[in-house]
Every structure is written in structure tokens, then in C-alpha cells.
């Protein structure tokens, strides 16, 4: 049954892969192919979820309506592929030999992956229905959305909690169930697995493409060395999905920034890699716009996944607009970003206007918020929870080793990568501060809220934080080249 579920879920990914690979210029090297594949899995599932909700909103989810919306979105994607394919020219990528260090890191990644995916498999095998939030919200809504007709509006009634939660995950599950003709638990499990493996592949593929294979392997190793991330994914919550879309947005924006400066593909600053490159090509500047549109789609889908995703969207736009105020061309480029984000954001607005009203503060008055903000004991509780998580996490050594690694290696000479890393890092840092502010003002009992949500919120940022750190840090090859010089 899991094979059938995977096949149902992979069809939209396959259709999305066509325009992605054409517009982002997949070439000979395995890294960009992996990057496109990882992007296609998440963006395809996200677009499938959007299609399902559009079909519900317009046609109450009838088969004809579902087919029409799927066909329309499929035609747009195939059209983009056709246009990009006709106007584009094939590009070759540098091929780097595997160094002894790369082989060693790959073996370490395999070892870490065994524990990482072993934990995921154990969690989903022994607790197939996931955590309480999956039962109370994400998976619970899916049978209603799969049923269509008049049933699909039932979870948004007066007694329903979480009725303002975005619908990407629930509608993604519902869509697969609809096509499979049954509600098998293999679907939510497969979705969680696909997003988990796509996050790891995206992190490796992006760092490989932007900074070289060694850095890609180091980044992947750090994610695979965080078993808590796999455990949360196995709980079938939306946090893992959100972390994927956050990472995808930042990767695509870094890709766009690189394209703006007419990047030399491979983007490797070190001499060793450059010497072993078989060929180098230049991305035409027009291709950067496509990366921006895909980045907009990924950021929009983040908002369509969880409420924190809307916070991410606003922060991302704020950081990039603030960094582009002096550049008219970049402000114009924001149009491409908006085009990509339009569909998921429109769906989110429609949901809040027609199905549920938003409640950001949970009914807290301004006076209560002010009292919470000026209460020193809340700061102490929050600091204590962060400190406890740092010391008690199985990944605590990684949390300590990462800053040490950055300090020892220093920044890369690749100015484009450093610029992209600064922006990605700013987004992650601002979100971390805002998450702490959410705890400060939460209407829920603070200690309970911290104990149930803090690690989940931090895991949302974890892949993006790893990406920003390794994008900024010098690669071992760079440092060794410096030493030789």
C-alpha cells in the first residue's frame, strides 16, 4: 500500500520536475539534478494540495472539477517547461572527482542516515497515527477534504479547533486518498517520508551546487546527525514540511542571487575543484527570474503549511526588500517572486475570509500582553527552556561543534555566497527572536507551551540554519589552498 501511496504522491512531483529542470537548468552534474528532484518533490506536493483545495472551493471536489483543476495546473507547468526548453540551451556543469575527504564524509553520512531514518521508520511503524496534533488537526481534516460534497466544510464549524490552520498537509493527504479511493495511513506516512528525504537531499544538493560537494556533505551530515528532526517528522506534524519550504525558499533565493552576478556554475571557489572541472558555463541572467518565481512559490507554500509560515514569508520579504531598496532592478524582480507566491497566498486569504477567522493573540488583550512582556519570570522560564533543550538534546555536541567549526574555518572568499548566507542567516535569526517573542506573549500556560512546542519550532529553522552557516563558511579545500599559498 505504501508503494501505491508513493506513486500517487510522486505524479505531481514528476510533472513539476519538468519546468523546474528546464528553468533552473539541470545539467550533467548529479548535484543540480538532485537539487531539482528535491525541489520537485516538495513543490509538486504543495501544488497538488493547492489544486485539491481549488477544486473543493470551486466544484465541491467533484471528479470533473478535480480533473479540470489538475489539468489546468498541469498545462501551465508543461507550458513553462516547453517555453523554457525552447528558449534555453543546454548547460554543462563541472564534474569534481571524489576526494578521500568526500568519501569519508559520505560514509559518515551513511552511518548517520541509518540512525536518522531508522528512528523515523520505528516511530511511524509503532505509532502510525502520529502525534496529538496530527490526530487533532492535520490528518483529522483529511477525510473531510477527501470526501468533498458538503462534508468538506464540516471541520471548519464553530466547535472545531484549529480551523484557521493552513491546509497544505491536510489537503495533500486528502488528494492522495481521493485518487487511491481509500484512507490508508500509508499516505500521511509517505508524505512525511518524502518531505524528510527531500529536505536532506535539498540541503546537500543546494550546498553542493553553491559551495561544492565537501560542503554539501558536511551540511547533510549535520542534518542527519539530528535524530530529533526525524522523530518530529515521524510524528506526522506539519513542522517538518514547513522546514522544507523555508529551506527551499532560501536555497532558491541564493540561487537567484548567484544568477544575478552571472555565476559560474559549480560556484566553487577552491582551486582544486576548479582545476578538475571539465567545463564551466554561465547561467543567462533571465534564468534568475525563474528561480525567483520558484522561491516565491516555496515561500507561499510555507505560509500555506503552518501559521508560522506566514511569519516566515513576511520576514523573508522584509529582509530581501530591505536589502534591495537601492536596486530598482531587484525591486522589479520582486514581481517574479509575487507571481510565484500568488496562488498559495490567495488560497490562504480565501480560507481566512470564508472558512475561519484568524486569532493571532488567542484573545489576549493589550494589557495582558503588556503584563506578560514585563514579567521577568517569563524571561527566566524561556531562557531556562532554551538552555535545557541545548544541554538535554542528543544533538547538543553538534550545537556546540557548529560555532567552533565556523570560527576555525572562517568565512569563504566567495562574496556571492557570503551575501546570500547573510540574508538567509538574518531570516533565521529574526524568526528565532520572533519565536521567543511568541512564547513571551502566549496565552497558554508558558511552561506547558515551551515543553510542547519549543523543540518543534527550533527544528523548523534547523535545516535553514545549517544552510546559512555552511554557505558562509570556507570549505576545507579553500583553507587548504590558502595554506598552500
Amino acid at each position: 500500500m505504501r508503494t501505491a501511496a508513493l506513486l500517487t504522491l510522486l505524479v505531481p512531483a514528476a510533472v513539476t520536475l519538468l519546468p523546474l529542470s528546464a528553468t533552473l537548468r539541470t545539467a550533467q552534474s548529479s548535484a543540480p539534478r538532485l537539487l531539482c528532484l528535491a525541489l520537485a518533490i516538495g513543490l509538486g506536493l504543495g501544488l497538488g494540495s493547492c489544486a485539491h483545495v481549488i477544486a473543493l472551493a470551486l466544484f465541491d471536489g467533484t471528479w470533473a472539477g478535480l480533473g479540470a483543476v489538475d489539468a489546468a495546473i498541469g498545462l501551465v507547468l508543461v507550458g513553462v517547461w516547453w517555453l523554457a526548453r525552447r528558449s534555453g540551451r543546454p548547460m554543462t556543469m563541472p564534474r569534481h572527482r571524489w576526494s578521500a575527504l568526500d568519501v569519508g564524509l559520505a560514509l559518515a553520512c551513511l552511518l548517520a542516515a541509518a540512525g536518522f531514518f531508522g528512528l523515523f521508520e520505528t516511530v511511524v511503524y509503532r505509532t502510525p497515527h502520529g502525534g496529538i496534533d496530527a490526530i487533532a488537526s492535520w490528518t483529522w481534516k483529511a477525510p473531510f477534504l477527501a470526501a468533498g460534497g458538503t462534508r468538506w466544510r464540516l471541520p471548519f464549524g464553530d466547535f472545531s479547533r484549529h480551523r484557521d490552520y493552513p491546509l497544505l498537509l491536510s489537503a495533500g493527504i486528502a488528494r492522495a486518498w481521493r485518487y487511491m479511493g481509500g484512507s490508508d495511513q500509508a499516505v500521511p506516512i509517505s508524505i512525511a517520508f518524502l518531505f524528510l528525504i527531500a529536505t536532506a537531499a535539498l540541503l546537500f544538493g543546494a550546498l553542493h551546487a553553491l559551495r561544492g560537494r565537501t560542503v554539501g556533505l558536511l551540511g547533510a551530515l549535520c542534518l542527519l546527525g539530528t535524530p530529533g528532526f526525524a522523530w518530529h517528522a515521524g510524528s506526522l506534524l506539519a513542522d517538518g514540511v514547513l522546514s522544507y519550504f523555508m529551506l527551499a525558499s532560501l536555497v532558491l533565493l541564493a540561487y537567484w542571487q548567484r544568477a544575478q552576478s552571472g555565476w559560474r556554475v559549480g560556484l566553487v571557489a577552491d582551486e582544486t575543484a576548479r582545476a578538475s572541472a571539465q567545463s564551466v558555463a554561465v547561467v543567462p541572467p533571465a534564468k534568475g527570474s525563474a528561480a525567483l518565481a520558484w522561491a516565491g512559490l516555496a515561500a507561499g507554500l510555507a505560509a500555506w503549511t503552518k501559521r508560522e509560515g506566514l511569519l516566515f514569508f513576511g520576514t523573508l520579504v522584509g529582509v530581501y526588500v530591505a536589502g534591495s531598496l537601492r536596486s530598482r532592478s531587484r525591486l522589479r524582480a520582486a514581481g517574479w517572486f509575487a507571481i510565484g507566491a500568488a496562488v498559495p497566498l490567495a488560497l490562504l486569504r480565501w480560507q481566512h475570509q470564508t472558512l475561519a477567522t484568524r486569532r493571532f493573540t488567542g484573545g489576549r488583550s493589550l494589557l495582558e500582553v503588556r503584563a506578560a512582556v514585563t514579567d521577568p519570570s517569563r524571561y527566566a522560564d524561556i531562557a531556562s527552556a532554551y538552555w535545557g533543550l541545548l544541554l538535554g538534546s542528543p544533538s547538543r555536541w553538534l550545537l556546540l561543534a557548529l560555532p567552533a567549526f565556523v570560527l576555525l574555518m572562517g568565512g569563504t572568499a566567495d562574496t556571492d555566497a557570503r551575501a546570500a548566507a547573510r540574508r538567509a542567516g538574518a531570516v533565521v535569526a529574526l524568526l528565532a527572536v520572533m519565536q521567543a517573542a511568541i512564547f513571551l506573549t502566549t496565552p497558554a500556560p508558558l511552561v506547558w507551551h515551551l515543553s510542547t512546542a519549543l523543540d518543534r519550532l527550533l527544528f523548523q529553522l534547523w535545516p535553514s540554519a545549517i544552510f546559512a552557516l555552511f554557505l558562509w563558511t570556507a570549505s576545507p579545500d579553500e583553507r587548504w589552498s590558502d595554506a598552500d599559498a
Binding site: 502510525p128 497515527h129 462534508r151 535524530p227
Partner: protein, 149 residues
């Protein structure tokens, strides 16, 4: 030379730190295996127990049903709807909406843990179908037309 040493130190540190979580991961896997028997966790058994109810309600084309939990948590719908039993029941019955009130035409009662189930039933409700194991479908004596669509 010193530069090379620092690079090696940094690499060893990051690889060791990433792999340091492995023993904890193995222990975590063992704990999960020990805590959750292979025949299914509590939620799976709960969902399986409610399958006949779900099928019967779907056959009747009911859109929603009320919920009559054990006596101890009946005092407040707010308390009821946040309870794990209510959430699991609601999850198991989807796409039938379970509402945290017994002011519906049809009401699902889960009286498995009541010593005297009959004594805890409100007078306005009568047994429509007994599924066994404390699961009863109740009907309001004066039904409202709203619940059947």
C-alpha cells in the same frame, strides 16, 4: 602547517559531534519498540474499535453526531473537546463530525469505563444501536432535522 591542523580539528569535531547522537538514537529506538507493542499502539486500537461505528454512521449518511463521554468530563464542552478521548474518537469517525455536545439528534456514547452505564444516560436520549464494548449510538427523543442531511 598550523592552518591545516585547524582544518582537520574542525572536520573531526563536526563529524564526531554529528555521530555522537547515534548511541542515543539507538536507545531511543529501543525505548519506542519496548513502549509500543507491534500489534498496534493505543490510538490504532482505539481507531479499530470505532470502525464499526464509523461504517454504521456512514451508511446512515449522517453528517455529524454528538458525543456523550464518561460522566466525569461532561460538565464542560470546552473541557470535553480538549480531552484525548474526544480527539481520538473524533479522528476515528472522520468524515463524520463529532461535536462535543449531546444536544444533537444522534449522539455517540462511550461508556466503557462507567460502572453503571444506564445510570449515566441523560433522559432525553434513547439507545438506537448498541455496538458493544460501551459504545452506543443514542437518538434524541425529539430529533432535530438539522443533523440528517
Amino acid at each position: 602547517m598550523l592552518e591545516r591542523v585547524w582544518v582537520v580539528v574542525a572536520l573531526v569535531a563536526i563529524v564526531a559531534a554529528a555521530l555522537a547522537a547515534l548511541p542515543t538514537t539507538v536507545m531511543r529506538i529501543q525505548r519506542i519498540v519496548a513502549d509500543h507493542p507491534p500489534e498496534g499502539d493505543y490510538v490504532t486500537r482505539f481507531v479499530d474499535r470505532l470502525q464499526p461505528v464509523r461504517e454504521a454512521l456512514l451508511q446512515r449518511q449522517l453528517m455529524r453526531v454528538g458525543y456523550l463521554p464518561r460522566m466525569a468530563v461532561r460538565s464542560s464542552p470546552m473541557q470535553m473537546r480538549g480531552g484525548a478521548h474526544f480527539l481520538w474518537t473524533r479522528y476515528a469517525l472522520a468524515p463524520i463530525l463529532l461535536r462535543p455536545t449531546w444536544r444533537e439528534s444522534f449522539v455517540l456514547a462511550d461508556l466503557r469505563f462507567e460502572d453503571d452505564p444506564a445510570a449515566t444516560m441523560p433522559d432525553q436520549l434513547t439507545v438506537e444501536k448498541n455496538f458493544g464494548d460501551g459504545l452506543l449510538l443514542l437518538r434524541r427523543r425529539k430529533p432535530s432535522a438539522l443533523s440528517i442531511e
